[in-house]
Amino acid sequence: MHELSLVVSIVETCENLVYKEGGKAIKEITLIVGTLSGVEVDALKFAWEMGVKNSVLEKANFKIKMEKAEAKCDSCLQHYSPKTLYEPCPICGHYGSNYLKGRELKIHLIKMVRK
């Protein structure tokens, strides 16, 4: 359950941000999660409920934006959208592509309430 560690890390970032900006709480947070980021969204939501208790995120509206993976074949330079990390290029069958999108896991937007 590394998802709980991820939530703890998000809480830490938000606590710092609220402190720095003189805010009260976070009203809404949007994460971007790549489809090949290694994060299980259901596990993340489950961990979220436990992880944000008694923090500035406790009442925040939690949104996840999935980012579809995009790869570029190393061999024929074709762009395609793999569903796994071991999907060959659909044109030339080559394995081992460059992942341009879909590996990210980031805090995208934060809506903070200020006094």
């Binding site: 970032t13 900006e21 071991y86 805090i107 934060i110 809506k111 903070m112 200020r114």
Partner: protein
């Protein structure tokens, strides 16, 4: 009565609306871990330390492989070991017996090591210039994949008593590794493990991955592994 809102309350409440601030943060969730990992990496480089992160499922023979490696190569390398386990110091005790400096990290309920745990461990262990630091991560093929510790190389160990399709079931960890050691090959005659298939799966995920077949118990294939360590340690010193 309050003349602003007509609420009938004594005027102790405020009519200033809470301001909303929209922040486009675009920050990696593991930002802090990555910063500390880079700090660890800088420390290693400054001291010419080679750091290797060992990953595997529980029971693949990580600790045995380390024991044999240290016992056989301790005259060539200055081994320092960080042992990550949820509980107990059993692995650290085993390593200490062979004569390497070792520090046990107990993660409690945690399922992986992170860069900060390693950072703190380094303060206690204090590996000197030129040391070979072996970090044995918590036995788990999922969680440790995401956490950079500042290591130079990631080595994932799988054993022939597991399924040969492990790489496809746990792609993240194999995707991020530089070397895969297939351990316990002395048991191949007794198990249904297709080593060619396993290697094929590994190369689908990671075409540049090096693969070694070893038996830490019988010593078969271990020379290639020692050679790899030798090559890696030279890369740092150059």
């Amino acid at each position: 009565m309050c003349t602003t809102c007509g609420c009938g309350e004594p005027h102790e409440h405020t009519h200033e609306k809470d301001q909303e601030l929209l922040i486009k943060l675009e920050r990696d969730v593991l930002h802090k871990n990555k910063l500390i990992a880079e700090r660890n990496r800088g420390f290693f480089e400054a001291r010419d330390i080679k750091a290797i992160n060992f990953l595997s499922s529980p029971g693949s023979g990580k600790t045995t492989l380390l024991e044999k490696t240290i016992a056989s190569q301790k005259n060539h390398f200055d081994f320092y070991v960080i042992e990550g386990d949820q509980q107990s110091s059993r692995d650290a005790d085993r390593i200490e017996k062979i004569g390497a400096k070792v520090l046990q990290i107990n993660t409690g309920k945690g399922c992986h090591l992170d860069a900060d745990m390693v950072h703190k461990a380094l303060h206690q262990l204090e590996p000197p210039n030129g040391a070979m630091l072996m970090i044995e991560n918590v036995g788990n093929l999922v969680c440790p994949a995401l956490f950079d510790l500042g290591e130079h190389k990631r080595v994932v160990i799988m054993s022939v008593t597991e399924g040969d399709d492990k790489p496809l079931k746990y792609p993240d960890i194999f995707f991020s590794a530089d070397l895969c050691i297939i351990n316990k090959i002395d048991l191949l005659p007794y198990v249904d493990f297709d080593i060619t298939a396993a290697e094929d799966y590994l190369h689908r995920l990671n075409p540049s991955m090096e693969i070694m077949q070893v038996s830490a118990t019988t010593g078969e294939g271990m020379e290639a592994w020692y050679h790899w360590l030798e090559k890696e340690s030279r890369l740092v010193l150059d």
